[in-house]
Amino acid sequence: MNCAATQRRLWDEGPLPAEVLEHVAVCPACAARAARAAQVFGALHQAGPAEDPGNMLPAIQARLDRIGTPPSMFPLRALTAIAVTVMTLSLAWVSHAPKAAGAASMAAFGAMGGIPAGTLVASHRAGDLTGFDAAGPRGMLLAGDGLRAMAPRNVPAPAGTAAVATPVPTIPGMEPAAAVSVGAEGDDSVSEWETRGVNPMTGECTMTRVRTIRDAQGRVIKVEVAVIALP
């Protein structure tokens, strides 16, 4: 065992292992360090408070008097159970509601005027980029399962975010206005669209680039979304 390894072990919990002690026995520098470490942790060990708080019983009795007997936990547990059930059902609905519900919801969303152009809304969960939503000049483009857009949580996507979501439901009216074909002439299997905006929460200027890939029947099979920081 060398000096570096010995030094690392000096900070470990518990008694020093035999190989460390063997090295310490032959190395004056490590012996000095070991002695220092022992002194430091000895001082720490002995500095624990040993004071007594005095008689706190009257004070605690007075406070317990105001409470009475320990309260039943039933209402709290029942409320917690109800809250958990509601949340679970909500999440299940958001995740698995039929496409029709999503379309109807998006229509209602459009009637409200939609999200302002340039706003970025990412409703994905941490570590799960499925369901990324980006608002474009004419409303909102959906990626991922899209249904999460019904309840956008206004969490802006940070620069560097990249999402690949597949497959996605085709929702009428969701084609971006500024889509450009990047394939051969007449081939609209791949379209690319981008928007720039200022992240309202961070002030960061970003560009959202969305690439939509369709199959021969025109169904969206893949959407790639990237949020890129602009200088």
């Binding site: 430091v40 942790f41 001082a43 720490l44 408070p49 605690i60 009795q61 406070r63 039943s72 936990m73």
Partner: protein
């Protein structure tokens, strides 16, 4: 078959006794909870004093911890020892107070809070103890919790994990870092005072 040692029997007896006192308290016998309070108030007070570094605040935190334990007594299912459960409540009370204190300190720019002075007549010893506590109080709350529970309350890694809700390997790593952080500050402090 292993014969229980005197210590094991005593500990087991204490645990059984705690459970019985909890049950009696839930049945409406206040004196049973007062027995629990009398048994553990010093431990929780010393825990709070170690984490907060202020005697008055430690007293308040101790009372708050016991009142909270009393309110939540029916939720204690005996999955862990009563003392472990009580430690958990005490640590949470102290962490809440530390967070509040940090917010107030930031608001008032009052970074020079007085630390408790322990003088037992032996000046050098008291100064040394005071210095160690000052260094502990400069550490982050997470490091402070593991050091206090390990060095001053001599809890095992698993017990600290039960109190803090972390795993034993996480606590081992946190303790390793906390020991290094403490030693670094302590030695720097020693150098600056020398």
């Amino acid at each position: 078959m292993a014969i229980p040692t005197e210590t094991t029997a005593w500990v087991t007896g204490a645990l059984d006794h705690d459970s019985a006192l909890v049950a009696r308290t839930c049945a409406g016998e206040r004196a049973a909870f007062e027995q629990l309070f009398a048994r553990y108030q010093n431990r929780i007070y010393r825990l709070a004093l170690g984490l907060l570094g202020d005697a008055e605040e430690a007293q308040d935190a101790t009372q708050d911890a016991f009142v909270r334990a009393y309110r939540q007594l029916r939720s204690f299912r005996g999955d862990s020892a009563f003392l472990t459960w009580l430690y958990r409540i005490g640590v949470n009370q102290c962490l809440t107070r530390l967070r509040k204190r940090r917010r107030q300190a930031e608001a008032m720019l009052d970074l020079g809070k007085d630390l408790p002075v322990t003088t037992d007549g032996v000046a050098e010893r008291a100064v040394e103890v005071q210095r160690v506590r000052e260094v502990v109080n400069q550490l982050s709350a997470a490091y402070r919790v593991v050091l206090v529970l390990r060095f001053w309350h001599e809890l095992s890694l698993q017990e600290i994990a039960d109190v803090t809700g972390a795993t034993a390997p996480q606590i081992k790593m946190r303790l390793h870092r906390a020991r290094k952080a403490f030693a670094r500050r302590y030695l720097a402090d020693t150098g600056s005072r020398a």
